[in-house]
């Protein structure tokens, strides 16, 4: 079985919500749609207070190439445009919409039929994806159309679909694969057409055997050419772009380079589904599957949520918030962020809400480094986390840069594996930001 070659850890999987059918959550009373809930330049609101909007209507125009459109996920009246707390922990400009009914734009095809044929040219497909405001739904929320437009001189050879879902607890992608395999496969063919290639690999971790079987069967029954399923050994962080490329096709992306350098384009499986909906059904990115989970959650499950729905509304569907909750994490336990309130809206990157019990939530007391090098063995990028932490603590930026601190993918394997509970990633993330600022200043 294939996996990536350097580092990696194996946290407890705890996929409690696996196999739970996706439930559509009711509409909220008010949707809060942040204008910048993704990577890149914030979008510019094009509606004003008092405007009536429909589901799927463009409300935020993308503010540059690496930026994305924002659409209304509900129908109703724009109540206000104001700063609101989101998963980043800070207040950012958001559009508040008072929900009234559920009126969709006419051109959106809401029928469940599978539309296989796509007669659009690659450029038209990419434009449609950009217009639909699709960003990477795995968590990094990088605008999808940017990935599909390789820089001049570079060509894509293979499309890799990231169906790894290596984060413990989360099952939203897994469930989506079980329920919408045909749509996802058509999405893959559309992406292949957009990239002008005829080879795609779907990487699935071995703990999702049912999905692997189903996809193999559907590829045969739909008679799709050039798509191959790769069965991957369970290992964190296999869902990292560079790790997945290594695992799937055995190529290593050089330090500081993008996957296109080795001819690969990686797309998340949920993004692929969104691409299908956007291109074949004219439906912009207005909803996503969110996993609500945790050891003490009564009914963990997967929910189809309109973007902008406050997380509290989604949590209600999984039973009340457990009483012994010590920490609420937006996203998975490894890369998610703790949130201070459940009033924050579901954003394009919200893959899950994890409730940690009081006992699990606390950090252990930080002890001295015992030089066991577990973090060095665990780092999937081949870095030396303990050294990078020290460089950051003592602000030795030149050495941190030399030791490739900017290669860190912030997977958290080092902090997870450290027997002295040192906050390695906290420091490295800080140092990475500092060094990147220094590099940017130098290149100006």
């Amino acid at each position: 079985m294939k996996t990536f070659k350097i580092g990696g850890v194996h946290p407890e999987e705890n996929k409690f919500s696996a196999g739970k059918t996706i439930i559509t959550t009711p509409l909220p009373k008010q949707a809060i749609i942040p204008v910048a809930a993704y990577l890149g330049a914030p979008s510019v609101p094009i509606v004003a207070k008092g405007d009536m909007v429909k589901v799927g209507q463009l409300i935020g125009q993308s503010g540059g190439f690496i930026s994305s459109n924002v659409h209304s996920s509900v129908s109703g009246k724009v109540a206000k445009i104001e700063d609101s707390l989101d998963a980043s922990g800070y207040k950012r400009s958001s559009i508040f919409i008072d929900v009234d009914g559920d009126e969709w734009l006419e051109n959106i095809d809401r029928s469940p039929e599978l539309v296989r044929e796509c007669h659009l040219s690659p450029e038209e497909i990419i434009k449609k994806i950009a217009d639909a405001g699709i960003v990477g739904l795995g968590g990094a929320t990088f605008p999808a159309h940017v990935k599909l437009s390789p820089p001049p001189g570079k060509t894509a050879e293979v499309l890799i679909i990231n169906a790894v879902e290596c984060e413990p607890y989360l099952t939203c992608d897994h469930e989506l694969m079980l329920e919408k395999p045909n749509e996802i496969l058509v999405g893959v063919t559309i992406l292949m057409k957009a990239l002008k290639i005829n080879r795609a690999i779907i990487g699935i971790e071995n703990n999702k055997k049912d999905a692997i079987e189903l996809f193999k069967k559907q590829i045969k029954s739909l008679n799709i050419q050039g798509v191959e399923i790769v069965d991957l050994k369970v290992q964190y962080p296999q869902g990292g772009e560079k790790q997945l490329i290594d695992a799937a096709i055995g190529r290593q992306v050089p330090s500081g380079a993008l996957p296109i350098e080795v001819g690969a384009v990686v797309m998340n499986v949920a993004t692929t589904f969104a691409v299908y909906e956007a291109v074949q059904k004219n439906k912009p990115l207005i909803d996503r599957v969110v996993t609500i989970t945790g050891k003490s959650v009564k009914t963990p499950g997967n929910f189809l949520v309109r973007l902008g729905t406050p997380l509290a509304n989604v949590v209600e569907q999984a039973g009340r918030m457990p009483e012994d909750t010590g920490k609420i994490v937006a996203g998975g336990p490894m890369m998610g962020r703790a949130v201070v309130s459940l009033d924050i809206p579901t954003a394009k990157g919200s893959a899950g809400v994890l409730f940690m019990t009081e006992k699990e939530a606390h950090r252990m007391q930080i002890r001295n480094c015992i030089r066991c090098a577990k973090c060095v063995n665990g780092c999937p990028m081949g870095l030396n986390p303990t050294e990078l932490m020290n460089f950051t603590e003592y602000e030795v930026w030149d050495k941190a840069e030399k030791c490739a601190i900017t290669d860190c993918i912030e997977c958290g394997s080092c902090s997870y594996i450290c027997p002295a509970y040192r906050p390695l990633l906290d420091y490295i993330r800080l140092g990475k930001g500092k060094v990147m600022t220094i590099i940017r200043g130098r290149n100006k």
Binding site: G89, V340, H362, G433
Partner: protein, 293 residues
């Protein structure tokens, strides 16, 4: 005997020869250094704090000598005394600089600003602020993890355990700007120390709307604009729901502070107010307290 003599003679000759060569090399490759650099460096405080904007005291000394005049050159820890000495060495005149001091623009102690969550991560303001807004409802205020304390070379900032806010020691602070640069929330500011250390400033950095700010912190500036109206010198400006007192224009008349409904304007080192004023202020306070209860 002759062995010893030979040894002494040979060593002496070799030694003298080497000394001669070294002397010649020394003469040939002599580096002419301005003797004033050392003199200037001797009067500088040798703290190497970087407050002047140059890499350490030696760098500052060189800059002083190279510059045509001492305009814009200032040693914050040394102050006017040191600059006078430097001017005397270089035969120039030192420009007068006003003494400044670091001021924390946040007054949200644990009582005033109740915690809404608990932070357990690494003890560093920079890390905490990269993760989220902070332990209270206010995302602008002090995190209290002490990055400023660590960065201060003069031992002038300490966290007060009662309020969990840093306090600046007026005697020790040299206005070197290190803490101002370090604070990730950018709430430390260098302000004029003022006569007898008297200062008035808005001790808040919250840019939220009044109601939101007040909800998260009882001493937050709510942007009501009363102080702006009260100020007769146009020293107070209001931007993003936050008042700011310009220390260049402020004449320390104290008219603004009693106007502030949330006591966000702090007066330092002033004598107590006159009887009449005090009663008025306390009356206002009593009224608001009864309203709240």
């Amino acid at each position: 005997m002759s062995v010893i003599l030979t040894a002494i003679v040979v060593l002496s000759v070799v030694g003298a020869g080497c000394a001669g060569i070294l002397y010649l090399i020394g003469q040939k490759f002599k580096v002419e250094e301005d003797p004033r650099i050392q003199q200037v460096q001797d009067v500088l405080p040798s703290a190497n704090c970087g407050g002047c904007g140059y890499p350490g005291c030696a760098g500052f000394a060189v800059a002083c000598i190279k510059a045509d005049s001492l305009d814009g050159l200032n040693c914050p820890p040394g102050g006017a005394d040191v600059m006078q000495k430097v001017a005397a060495i270089l035969g120039r005149t030192a420009t007068a600089t006003t003494k400044k001091i670091a001021v924390l623009r946040c007054n949200g102690s644990c009582e005033e600003r109740p915690h809404t969550n608990q932070y357990e991560g690494a003890t560093s303001c920079a890390i905490a602020s990269a993760l989220y807004g902070g332990e209270t409802g206010c995302t602008f205020g002090c995190l209290g993890l002490g990055d400023c304390v660590l960065t201060c070379t003069f031992d002038a900032i300490h966290i007060n355990p009662a309020t969990m806010l840093p306090e600046v020691d007026e005697e020790k602070c040299t206005a070197c700007n290190a803490c101002v640069k370090k604070c990730p929330k950018m709430i430390l500011e260098l302000r004029k120390q003022g006569p007898k250390s008297r200062r008035i400033y808005v001790s808040c950095a919250n840019k939220d709307k009044g109601g939101v700010a007040k909800k998260s912190c009882s001493v937050a500036c709510i942007g009501c604009g009363k102080c702006v109206k009260a100020c007769t010198f146009e020293a107070i400006t209001m931007a993003n729901n936050l008042a700011y007192i310009d220390d260049e224009k402020c004449r320390l008349c104290r008219k603004c502070a009693p106007e502030c409904p949330t006591n966000a304007i702090v007066e330092l080192n002033f004598p107590p107010r006159k009887e009449k004023e005090v009663t008025e202020v306390t009356k206002v306070k009593e009224v608001t307290e009864t309203e709240n209860s």
